[in-house]
């Protein structure tokens, strides 16, 4: 039985269209994975010494104190990114498999997920260092095993709460609130959670508790899945009540308005696109890392431009990146209708521009960190509008990953809200403005650096018509390839 499942999985992985990408993408993705592993490893090995050096106290206790945030972020991260492994279950229902086996297999698949074992890169080296530093061996092992169980508990919690967005937003909000409370000294959650984590070390046998919880969770998830494995139960596609919207105020834009209306509905009515918008919103706060000086390496002057681009470009990167893939499921319709490419592209471009302007306004709280911080945001916005908005549309002509807008709607659907391939495509859009800024910064002054970047953005704006012509040509040239790619779901 397992053999069958395994070979199915193997084939679905290696035969998926997205796997057959160009070799350099694969290499870049490999580097991305290695980078994360390196970060975790250095945390694992370095955390002990960093804490010891900074004199915060016993490293293990300090780690335990902040562990609650580590775990909270891990859960949020997991919820957003971890794919639910229970896709393709429908065809298995009719085959002579026992339901028990199907469920066990599906849950078993989550155990080997990257989201679980990536923590090993932190916990294993950290535990080794503790042992080397003559901590109580039993205690360290108990502590280590306890966290192993907790991480896996989270794995199953995530499976259980998957697609229950209210839970997610409440939880994420709570984490942010607790973080702010602690920072401002109103309330410190860690006082209450620290003893729990310390307990695992002080009384090693207590590690059994999370393991019992883990077993329990496994049974709950197992039963939940088994009970809901019917076409009209957990496997049913949830149906929303639809209401017709006119959005007549957009009619004044003519054909452009027609597309804008459609795009607004696209964003509102599909979970996948909503996720993209929400992610774009969170990018606004990314600048806090830079302007608060909380991370040393980010203190260099051109990192400000980098931050400015990201703060205002969240939507541009999360949504713009995927043009025209958002329309992949009905691309043949678009291509055979009476449509001008330039109108279609303009509509997407306007969306990106409007979102960039909104982000810029929302980001005005950066004024709090001085005019230079907000200047960086403004300059970033100008560059995003003038240059990056074209670049994403241009890049989109080559992306060609069909998007299943409804995939998030299936109860056990997979979450492909984001892929590393498209994130990597954003790098050239970030490095160039930093380079331009650096030239101005080092030859004249920081102000000149900002002006240079802004001038570049404005120049791009002036050449809009020509650039659009160019992009249009590329889209036309890629049309047949794109149609073909969108067909292979």
């Amino acid at each position: 039985m397992f053999k069958h499942f395994f070979s199915l999985q193997w084939k679905s992985f290696f035969r998926s269209a997205s796997f057959k990408t160009e070799i350099w993408f694969k290499i870049l993705m490999l580097f991305g994975a290695l980078y994360f592993i390196a970060v975790f490893l250095s945390l694992g090995f370095g955390a002990y010494f960093m804490i010891e050096k900074s004199g915060l106290g016993d490293p293990l206790r300090v780690v335990n104190q902040f562990m609650i945030y580590y775990l909270a972020f891990e859960l949020v991260f997991r919820y957003m990114l971890q794919k639910m492994p229970v896709t393709n279950i429908k065809p298995l229902l009719y085959l002579p498999f026992k339901k028990r086996e199907v469920v066990n297999y599906s849950l078993g698949k989550t155990i080997v997920s990257f989201f679980n074992w990536m923590h090993a890169f932190f916990f294993i080296p950290f535990s080794i260092i503790l042992l080397v530093k003559d901590y109580n061996a039993m205690g360290v092992i108990g502590w280590h095993l306890a966290f192993l169980a907790i991480i896996y508990c989270f794995n199953f919690i995530n499976v259980l709460v998957n697609n229950k967005d209210p839970f997610f937003y409440v939880f994420a909000g709570l984490v942010v609130f607790l973080g702010i409370s602690q920072y401002n000294g109103w309330f410190d959650i860690t006082i209450y959670t620290k003893p729990i984590f310390n307990f695992f070390y002080d009384v090693p046998y207590s590690a059994l508790i999370p393991w019992v919880v883990l077993l329990l969770l496994y049974f709950i998830t197992f039963n939940y899945f088994k009970k809901h494995m019917f076409l009209d139960g957990g496997l049913a596609v949830k149906k929303e009540e639809a209401k017709t919207e006119n959005l007549d105020w957009l009619n004044r834009f003519g054909n452009l308005g027609t597309f804008l209306k459609n795009d607004i509905k696209l964003i509102k009515r599909n979970k996948r696109s909503r996720t993209a918008v929400i992610m774009g919103f969170f990018f606004i706060f990314y600048g806090l890392l830079f302007f608060t000086g909380s991370i040393e390496v980010y203190d260099g002057p051109f990192w400000r431009v980098f931050a400015g681009i990201f703060v205002t470009g969240g939507f541009l990167f999360s949504f713009g990146q995927y043009v025209p893939s958002w329309d992949s499921s009905y691309y043949p319709l678009m291509m055979s209708q009476n449509i001008k490419y330039s109108e279609y592209l303009h509509s997407k471009w306007y969306l990106v521009i409007i979102a960039t302007i909104i982000s810029t306004v929302l980001a005005s709280f950066y004024l709090y960190f001085g005019w230079e911080a907000y200047a960086a945001v403004l300059v970033g916005a100008i560059y995003n509008i003038g240059i990056n908005a074209y670049l994403v549309l241009w890049g989109g002509a080559y992306v060609k990953t069909p998007i299943d807008l409804t995939s998030n709607k299936k109860a056990f659907g997979d979450k492909q809200a984001f892929n590393s391939k498209t994130l990597l495509l954003t790098l050239p859009k970030l490095l160039l403005p930093m380079l331009i800024y650096a030239i101005g910064h080092f030859t004249i002054s920081p102000l000149a650096g900002y002006l240079f970047v802004a001038a570049f953005g404005l120049a791009g704006f002036i050449f809009k018509n020509r650039v659009f012509k160019l992009i249009e040509e590329i889209y036309k040239k890629e049309k047949y390839k794109t149609l073909k790619a969108y067909k292979q779901k």
Partner: protein
């Protein structure tokens, strides 16, 4: 209206379509039949410039479809569900297509009024997105949307599949009327020999990409087709 010249489509070493010449006059109801893999959908996709021909070309009202896009205003089609926008309600979808074809909401509404019977109360005002409709109802929406904007050429791939018997009968009379009364050139493909012989004035049989029969429909046509497909 439609002229096909020396058209072929090849994938690797496999030729999936090879038509030396074919002429479809204006206002003809044209049926295309053939087994799976005969090249019906390939031909329709070529007509809509969704794939590129390996050799030859198609002219639609003297516009070469792979060179110019001027055929789009007077041509419409429903091939499969990739012609539907799943997150729209049927009304929104009709209006969207209407706007693309230069028809305002009132125009679209008055056209839809003619299809009340055809919709059978299951399409309009249902508070459902297209993606949540059944396959048959989705098909109805797609077919009717292809009539918006007085197209001169309408291309329907397998319009009868997935429809219930009542709707099939209604669709047949709609298609016949389109060609006879309004001079629309209708291209229909089907696996159902009975339906095509009833609807189409002319039937072309494709087999493995080759045009093997070109029949003007008569009382004997069904028999002839059945004999052919029986092997």
């Amino acid at each position: 209206m439609i002229t096909i010249d020396n058209l072929s489509k090849t994938y690797g070493s496999q030729t999936v379509l090879n038509i030396e010449s074919l002429e479809i006059p204006k206002g003809q109801s044209f049926g295309l039949v053939g087994n799976n893999g005969a090249g019906k959908t390939t031909l329709f996709s070529l007509l809509l410039d969704l794939i590129q021909p390996s050799t030859g070309h198609i002219k639609n009202n003297d516009v070469q479809v792979d060179k110019s896009e001027d055929w789009k205003p007077f041509t419409s089609a429903f091939i499969d569900e990739s012609f539907l926008i799943g997150y729209l309600t049927p009304e929104e979808y009709f209006y969207f297509i209407g706007e693309l074809r230069g028809r305002n909401r009132a125009d679209v509404d008055s056209l839809l009024a003619n299809f009340t019977d055809f919709f059978h109360g299951e399409i309009l005002g249902q508070k459902k997105y297209l993606r949540d409709l059944s396959k048959g109802n989705q098909k109805k929406v797609g077919i009717v949307a292809s009539f918006i904007g007085n197209p001169e050429v309408v291309i329907l791939d397998e319009p009868f599949a997935n429809l219930d018997p009542t709707t099939q009968i209604r669709l047949k009379s709609i298609i016949k009327d389109l060609a006879a009364k309004e001079g629309v050139t209708v291209l229909v493909s089907s696996h159902d020999l009975m339906h095509v012989t009833e609807v189409c004035e002319r039937i072309v049989v494709l087999n493995k990409g080759e045009l093997v029969k070109d029949i003007k429909t008569s009382a004997e046509t069904l028999k002839e087709l059945e004999t052919f497909f029986a092997g």
